[in-house]
Point group: C2
Chain length 153, copies 2
DNA sequence: AATTTAGTTCTGTAAATTATGAACTAATGA
DNA sequence: TCATTAGTTCATAATTTACAGAACTAAATT
């Protein structure tokens, strides 16, 4: 399997992006490779060779991605290899994780408001604003998604 | 300055949350402390003592947060100390960063679609869907924010 | 039965991160 | 003038992480 310059640099850029989302470097590169490769499904050895990472790193990365539900694999009769691919259903999950993350933040901020006893309540107004903003966004999400789905048909 | 059990554990939880957003542990704790403390403004030594971190770690954390615009300070005549507080304007920025991050992702995904030559275009449909979904969300954001502002008045 | 294949698991370690403590500075106060 | 205050800077120590390489396993193939 050969990768173009563009594919290689996109793997790196996507890799860095996913490192910032908490993935290990090699794990993030595997995701990038499965995303940009011309073939949707790649074997263990193809991944290891394309990214120039050891078998142990490859094994670790693939198992991590399998456990977290980011990839899956198929097999073919009479072929012991597994063919790994990105779980396409996971795109929407990625968005939802960001939203859940904001929800988590909002939970923390609400507890902040409960816990602290500010002598000067001026500082509370802005924080309350933000909390209500996040609540509003969260409430609007389902209808937004619904509206988008309508535009698709 | 004394902190309740609740405040202490909230500092830790918020700290972990911000570590996942790429902040150093001590930096994340300083943000947490400034957020939950009863007084909105704290001095260098109060921060250092409350969190039990060295002066150098405190200095590093405060300068980092000042440089990135997360905190600011006031001074008072005849008092050499600086009084640090969270920049309240930064709440909305936090949300915007998440949105920009999704925008960055979408840019990468569009390039993925350009670069790869999938023999089986079935895998492309889902990705295209997600790209269009992110575009839709981005376009709707300004009006959503506007709507929220109206509910506030 | 021996070899190959498709991985996994187990050390070891290089590199990066994060914090400490000690020495320093620059301004203020006694 | 000497001490104190409010920090900063630097060298270094302690962790953490991330991966390589070698040894291993379990199934299939020869």
């Amino acid at each position: 399997m050969t990768l173009s310059e563009q594919q290689l640099s996109l793997i790196e850029e996507f890799g860095v992006y996913q490192e910032n989302n908490g993935f290990q470097p090699a794990v993030a590169r595997v995701m990038g490779l499965l995303l940009v490769s011309d073939r949707a499904e790649l074997t263990f050895d193809e991944i290891s060779e394309a990214l120039n990472i050891s078998k142990s790193a490859t094994s670790n990365a693939l198992n991590m991605l399998l456990n977290t539900g980011h990839i899956e694999y198929t097999t073919f009769p009479g072929d012991r290899k597994r063919y790994f691919r990105i779980k396409s259903s996971n795109w929407r999950d990625l968005f939802e994780k960001k939203m859940e993350d904001l929800s988590h933040l909002n939970g923390l901020l609400k507890r902040v408001m409960d816990v602290r006893k500010r002598e000067n309540p001026i500082y509370d107004a802005k924080l309350n604003d933000f909390i209500s903003f996040l609540d509003y966004m969260k409430n609007r999400m389902p209808s937004l998604i619904h509206e988008w789905e309508k535009t698709r048909k």
